[in-house]
């Protein structure tokens, strides 16, 4: 019996040590969490993200008013990624001429040239670079151009997609962005290649892209952008 107790204790102690070992690693260097912890927290994050998304789809930002946003006194762009159920307000992190990089607080960036998306970083299947038309070309009904996307594929390699595109005018409409009405002209850029076609949409307020729906990458799909504060 004594042996039995000792054995049981042994097993329990072993289990405790095992649990500690699996959950933590310690050392003098900056600690990296153990794989198990990372796995569990990744799953938790993903599950939480999903639960949040299903509870409040796409309206997560609704309670935020324009006054709340404007009081920061800086340009704001809103990005919504439907497949991620992600909705974020972005601020400018870099400006080089007409090329503006917008970023979230958690290290994701979106670079636009005259409002046309040319790069993303931190999304996973990122748009690494693009040969994209100017805003003026996208506002010219009947205009044609070539568009090339360079994605970082899930195989960690650059993937190239070349499209031939045509711009069509889709009429004038009124849109609401955070309680403000904008009168805009809609243009659709339809791009085709042998394997299929995509279309990007741009809502112009004068020469400026006020709102758009643009392809980011094959793995991520489209992103909706709204220029909230100029």
């Amino acid at each position: 019996m004594g042996q039995g107790v000792a054995l049981r204790m042994g097993v329990r102690a072993a289990a405790a040590v095992c649990l500690m070992a699996a959950l933590a690693a310690c050392g003098s260097s900056k600690p990296e969490a153990s794989p198990l912890v990372l796995a569990v927290s990744s799953v938790a994050k993903a599950t939480l993200g999903r639960a949040k998304a299903s509870r409040a789809p796409a309206k997560a930002a609704a309670p935020v008013t324009r006054a709340d946003i404007e009081k920061f006194g800086m340009p704001i762009l809103r990005a919504v990624i439907p497949v991620r159920s992600a909705d974020a307000l972005l601020t400018i992190t870099d400006v080089k001429g007409s090329t503006v990089t917008w970023g979230t607080t958690d290290g994701t960036t979106f670079t636009q040239r005259e409002g046309v998306l040319i790069q993303t970083r931190g999304l996973g299947p990122d748009l690494m670079s693009a040969q994209a038309p100017s805003a003026a070309a996208l506002r010219t009904a009947g205009g044609t151009h070539q568009r090339i996307y360079y994605f970082l594929g899930e195989d960690d390699r650059s993937t190239r997609r070349t499209y031939e595109c045509t711009v069509t005018a889709a009429g004038t409409e009124e849109i609401q962005i955070f309680q403000r009405t904008h009168r805009v002209e809609k243009f659709t850029e339809t791009c085709g290649r042998q394997q299929g076609s995509i279309s990007n949409s741009f809502w112009f307020e004068g020469p400026m892209i006020r709102k758009s729906r643009q392809l980011a990458s094959g793995g991520l799909g489209f992103i909706d952008f709204e220029r909230v504060v100029d």
Binding site: A14, V43, I118
Partner: protein, 703 residues
């Protein structure tokens, strides 16, 4: 705000109950209970998608089969299987359990087209005791997108029921001296019997399979009485859960229930859908020379405190990405930064991040950035980037290709004479206590704790040690002496596991250097590994852009005591071993290695290995060693051979880390063909920063 991708869940389906990716629309080539492409117990003519890596566990009455399979190329695949037969003593007295291991190889001769079926030729269990040995050709044709029909002809086990003759003559029996060697004389000999089957896709997730088997299960049924083979027909259902998991339940041979689980991984593609991790900072553009000519004045180099200040500012920016400055040297126009990349799994990305940091910190007069990745104190290569190119290409279309055309990657060269050194890097003590997992077979391993410490004395000179203690596991720790006729340089593993727990795994002083252009060297002294201690010296020649590398290694070692301590009293065995090695990168990720020399037991011979290395760091390979030790002296298995794999954890988890999980699996351990296991062999140490490894991942330089 931006959530982890959902596909992550699919990869972790084993850990969680959350559902994975959507099911495939088309019929995927499925696996059989033996873990190779096929029906239930039978093979088919199909092949898995290139690079598919799968782990299969099957329970079939009193037998268990655990298999690792890898689609090595589009047409060639291999499997490594561990089999357990229980109730082995039902009729004939003896051990109640029989363990066996085997390799399969299969090659797809034809791919399916409109009128032609896919056709595969294969060898099952072709190098063991032959208990499972068979050969086959199998053809599979799809009809519509829901039905596939397979027909084939089998020899060996697959020719034991319903034979139609012996098209290629008699099948000679194996003698015990043949065990472990390829059974070439038996291939496609003896009775041949037809088999057939059908697969019907019922829904996106459910599949029905039925087959007529030509395997009579002679040994299990007639001789051992383990199972009753009442019928040649097997049928059952499979359920596909996401892209990574598949379950099957079958009625087999009229009397048994078969259960199978497949874990199916795609090493080519990240489970997270892409490279995770935060965005980089934007490149800092200098004002033009005409706008601000003063900014380009190089007078700053004469300031006494410029160096330490620049180093401090760079260190702060690089720390975000786990990059440490080993050294820094500059003139008014050129900077050389030597970096240690602790966290980012792609060298190209670490180089890009370093260049971005330099663009922010270095004064405008510095036009040339020389980035030298340092591994174990050795400069592995030198990447030279013009700052103007970095500024101009940041937002250009196809910026990775354009930058690569303008960047040069060369030998690292010596440390510049005006280098500042690192800041507090040497001498430096560090330690860690981590869980450590050791796997010797599928379903067999130990979980333990490893206490490691290292003392970096100066660049390239490291004193390091580790102690391992087992916590739980099922690795052999019988403590029985091996009984090998050779010096038990490896086969006393059970004694080392039992008597040396915890054990001092290693305690070494290692010196790494780059004595000349394209030449690297290592000298390691001390307790090199669990079983042997001594001196190990290595030299490697590897130009940065060469597919070929040549190396030589010489070791003098004594066998250590099994108690994991410092002594050498138990064995009184010392030996000089060494190899000359050639490494060749065939392209597309295939890397081969040939070692010729003397092994630990005093035998001489050669080792051939081939690995497939993926851009994201996954590796899968196989090796075989033939020496002048006879099959009888080697013991079970005839000669040393096995498979190995290594999985980067960030592939599945998306975190930034260079940790990997891997194992080397052998059908049997012998003392012939055994090499010293010393840390820090040079080829794998530096390869990551040579063009063969940097170019495929170069797209990440802007990541």
């Amino acid at each position: 705000m931006l959530y982890m991708p959902r596909r992550l869940l699919a990869a972790l389906a084993v850990l969680s109950v959350a559902s994975g990716a959507p099911a495939h629309a088309e019929m995927i080539p499925s696996l059989n209970v033996n873990g190779s492409t096929g029906l239930i117990d039978l093979p088919s003519g199909e092949a898995q998608d290139d690079a598919t890596f799968s782990f299969t566990t099957a329970l079939l009455g009193p037998t268990t089969r655990a298999t690792i399979s890898f689609q090595f190329s589009e047409r060639l695949s291999g499997s490594f299987r561990f089999l357990t037969w229980r109730d082995w003593d039902n009729v004939i007295p003896g051990d109640s359990k029989l363990l066996d291991r085997g390799f399969d190889l299969r090659y797809q001769l034809l791919k399916e087209s409109n009128y032609i079926p896919s056709l595969t030729i294969g060898l099952i269990d072709f190098a063991s005791e032959g208990r499972f040995s068979s050969e086959y050709i199998a053809a599979t044709k799809g009809f519509g997108d829901r039905v596939k029909v397979t027909a084939g002809l089998g020899w060996g086990r697959l020719g034991t029921d319903g034979a139609i003759g012996q098209p290629f003559g008699d099948r000679p029996a194996l003698t015990s001296s043949d065990f472990g060697k390829p059974n070439v004389d038996q291939w496609f000999r003896g009775d041949a019997a037809p088999f057939a089957g059908v697969e019907v896709k019922l829904t996106d997730t459910w599949t029905f399979k039925g087959e007529y088997s030509s395997d009579a299960y002679v040994e299990e049924s007639d001789i051992r009485g383990q199972i009753d083979r009442d019928s040649p027909f097997n049928f059952g259902f499979e359920y596909q859960k996401g892209a990574n998991a598949r379950f099957g339940v079958y009625s087999m041979y009229g009397s048994e229930v078969g259960l199978v689980f497949h874990l199916i991984l795609d090493p080519k593609n990240r489970a997270t859908g892409g490279v995770m991790g935060a965005a980089p900072v934007a490149v800092n553009s200098r004002p033009t020379r005409t706008l601000d000519p003063d900014a380009y004045d190089g007078g700053w180099v004469t300031q006494a405190d410029a160096g330490p200040l620049l180093r401090k500012n760079l260190a702060k920016r690089l720390a975000v990405d786990g990059i440490v400055i080993e050294d820094l040297a500059y003139t008014a126009s050129t900077v050389q930064i030597r970096i240690r990349n602790n966290r980012i799994d792609a060298g190209a990305q670490a180089i890009g991040r370093t260049a971005r940091a330099l663009s922010h910190v270095m004064p405008a007069s510095v036009e040339v950035f020389e980035i030298v990745p340092v591994v174990k104190g050795i400069g592995a290569s030198k990447v030279t980037i013009r700052r103007t190119d970095l500024e101009q290409l940041e937002f250009a279309a196809d910026n990775a290709t354009l930058l690569r055309q303008r960047v040069s990657i060369t030998d690292a060269g010596p440390v510049p004479s005006n280098a500042l050194g690192g800041d507090g890097l040497y001498p430096r003590f560090s330690w860690s206590l981590r869980p450590a997992f050791r796997m010797t077979e599928p379903l067999k391993g130990d979980l333990g704790l490893r206490l490691s410490a290292s003392y970096d004395i100066q660049p390239g000179l490291v004193l390091a040690g580790s102690i391992y203690g087992r916590v739980i596991g099922n690795i052999d720790r019988s403590g029985n002496p091996s009984g090998s006729v050779l010096q038990p340089v490896r086969t006393d593993g059970g004694r080392y596991a039992k008597f040396g727990d915890p054990a001092l795994q290693s305690l070494t002083l290692a010196w790494y250097a780059r004595p000349a252009a394209d030449v690297y060297s290592r000298v390691t002294v001390g307790y090199l590994e669990r079983m042997h201690a001594g001196v190990s010296g290595e030299v490697l020649w590897k130009p940065v852009d060469s597919q070929l590398a040549l190396g030589a290694e010489v070791n003098y070692t004594k066998q250590r005591d099994t108690d994991g301590g410092l002594g050498f009293n138990e064995y009184d065995y010392d030996i000089v071993t060494g190899h000359v090695s050639a490494y060749y990168d065939f392209g597309n990720g295939y890397v081969g290695q040939l070692d010729v020399g003397r092994y630990l037991a005093g035998d001489t011979g050669a080792t051939v290995s081939i690995d497939r290395v993926f851009v994201n760091g996954w590796r899968v390979g196989a090796f075989a060693t033939v020496t002048d030790v006879s099959a009888a002296e080697f013991g079970n298995g005839a000669f040393d051979k096995g498979v190995r794999f290594s999985v980067p954890l960030n592939w599945a988890l998306g975190n930034q880390s260079k940790n990997t999980f891997g194992a080397t699996l052998r059908p049997s351990t012998g003392d012939g063909g055994a090499r010293l296991e010393v840390d820090g062999r040079l080829y794998d140490t530096i390869r990551d920063y040579h063009t063969d490894a940097l170019d495929p991942e170069w797209g990440r330089v802007w990541r």
